[in-house]
């Protein structure tokens, strides 16, 4: 299995509070991705990174920011959490962007009350 961990695995937070999710890899892959998964919507890309300090928006980036200061860590921040951001968040890594497969982390279940 690819070495990808996500923390925390579960979190309950209140509306309006900031939340940071962490993705950590031990594979030294260049690309890292954050997705959210909601019933009826499949996987939707939030942000991705193609190198240290290099990031770009996905299809549902509003309300989210990311940072990557080291190859192995990719942080997803909800500046002010809303109930619509209740979801399961997955991190993924890839060696070469779209040319080869992505490997997924175990997910973080976030509940915003």
């Amino acid at each position: 299995d690819a070495g990808i961990t996500q923390s925390p695995r579960h979190k309950v937070t209140e509306t309006g509070t900031p939340v940071t999710l962490r993705c950590h890899q031990t594979e030294n892959h260049r690309y890292m991705y954050w997705y959210r998964q909601d019933p009826g919507h499949g996987l939707r890309l939030i942000h991705y990174s193609y190198g240290v300090k290099d990031t770009d928006k996905g299809e549902v980036s509003d309300g989210y920011s990311v940072s990557r200061s080291k190859t192995e860590d990719f942080l997803l921040t909800l500046e002010s959490a809303t109930s619509s951001q209740t979801s399961v968040y997955f991190c993924a890594i890839s060696e070469t962007g779209g040319y080869y497969e992505q490997y997924f982390g175990p997910g973080t279940r976030l509940t915003v009350t």
Partner: protein, 111 residues
């Protein structure tokens, strides 16, 4: 732009019956295609991939898929399913620096 359409949101089948999960794609670049499986409360794992070569691709757990360029399809098949195949299945196509995923097909196996 690239896109993926999974034609069935849910597929119920009986145990030991064959199954086909349908995927159609649209792509303006060289086509690389993937099928992923997600078991309950887990992340996604790769079932199989088509990068080039033989159009019939074999994956894990007895699954296979056939790349059909003229029909822009990449359907997933298994000749005899087991209860343990109950999961959600995602088709994906290569995009610009990322994969583009379909909406998923939930496969339910009835005893």
């Amino acid at each position: 732009a690239q896109s993926v359409t999974q034609l069935d949101s849910q597929v119920p089948v009986f145990e030991e019956a064959p199954v086909e999960l349908r995927c159609n794609y649209s792509s303006s670049v060289s086509v690389y295609l993937f099928w992923y499986v997600q078991y309950p409360n887990q992340g996604l794992q790769l079932l199989l991939k088509y990068l080039s070569g033989s159009t019939l691709v074999k994956g894990i757990n007895g699954f296979e898929a056939e790349f059909n360029k003229s029909q822009t399809s990449f359907h997933l098949r298994k000749p005899s399913v087991h209860i343990s195949d109950t999961a959600e299945y995602f088709c994906a196509v290569r995009g610009a620096q990322k994969l583009v995923f379909g909406q998923g097909t939930r496969l339910t196996i009835n005893p």
